[in-house]
Amino acid sequence: MAGKPKLHYTKGRGKMESIRWLLAAAGIEFEEQFIEKKEDLEKLRNDGVLLFQQVPMVEMDGMRMVQTRAILSYIAAKYNLYGKDLKERAWIDMYVEGTTDLMGMIMYLPFQPADTKEKNLALIIERATTRYFPVYEKALKDHGQDYLVGNKLSWADVHLLEAILMVEECKADVLSTFPQLQAFKGRISNIPTIKKFLQPGSQRKPPTDEKFVAFVRTIFNI
């Protein structure tokens, strides 16, 4: 029976946020079951529904999927956001791995020791502006198309928009020297499914605050 996908995670961004973005972009409604205390995670583990004892876990199409990349790859392929052939998929994968590395730095930032925050934030901005954004800026400039790969919306575009917005939360004017990315941001934000996700009341989660960091530490023992 095909019900809605059901997402198991804490009520925050973490590793699940990219999955929320992709499902939303694909126009797929989903349910969420939030881990609110340690016992909730223990129950999932004891029930044997977490292949490697970890979340994210997404119940979908009769599977209990784990491992963020596996889940994202499946969703992308199922909803035609993964290119038309192996080579387009390769490009999408390369681009997504880049934005994953960048967003990974931002995800871990609130968990770093307080005295390293400033240095780590500076590194994020440096990587964003000298390693990652220039690649996507150039890709868009070179082919002059609206989307990164194959002249069609793909997982790579959704992931890049997510990354842009996350970096902007760290430094609001970070796109000032990236005109292509500014235009890209405007275009992709206006895609109806994404526009809806960006509005208040959607399942998009807010930036991680100190309270959430403390909560996550207790749940996952980190």
Binding site: R69, A70, A77, R89, E97
Partner: protein, 243 residues
Amino acid sequence: MHVRQTKLDSFQPTGNQELRNMSGKPRLTYLNGRGRMESIRWLLAAAGVEFDEVYLETKEEYDKLIKDGFLLFQQVPLVEIDGMKMVQTRAIMSYIAGKYNLHGKDLKERALIDMYVEGISDLMQMILMFPFSPPDAKEKNLESIKERATNRYFPVFEKVLKQHGQDFLVGNKFSWADVQLMEAILAVEEKLPTVLSGFPQLQVFKTKMSNVPTIKKFLQPGSPRKPPPDAHYVETVLKVFKK
């Protein structure tokens, strides 16, 4: 720069980027050691695909690659394959798996292979980082590897193999997941020789995989397989990737 070729007459010592890869084979650029490239070597070898290798030995060689625009995100591994300069380990392996029919027959099999590979990847990451841990953390890290291998990862694959009774992890057919698991088993055994003692299915699996002709060949001396990281390798990594 040291170049390892399987066919010497195809090497053109020229700065022209297009002539760089005359042999038509995939060309791997990395250090002369395992690191993040080893899983790619395993997969290509398992698929029966011959490849050439370029080894970075100095920071200058690495900086030149970056300056020449070869590295999309200024990082290696780099695999030149089918006209693409592919970077990002997972993207590269996904492409190879897809191209050589090691990624399942449909979306659901692919999902299962991806899940298994990602889990094993997390375990391999611990092994990858181990040589770089400070001396006083090594014992603790080794204990973590043992704990994760025996409590989190190996039990999953032991159970999968027991439940379906087939030779391969997914779809009764050799796939990327089998190659990755085999690599992980051997890597963990190098550190913990008796680690498979509680896993009879994995012991049988290991034997079966060792006898797959392409893997058997890869496990023989003289293959592109790299030895475990030693102090010299660690030193080279720190030197080449120094900021």
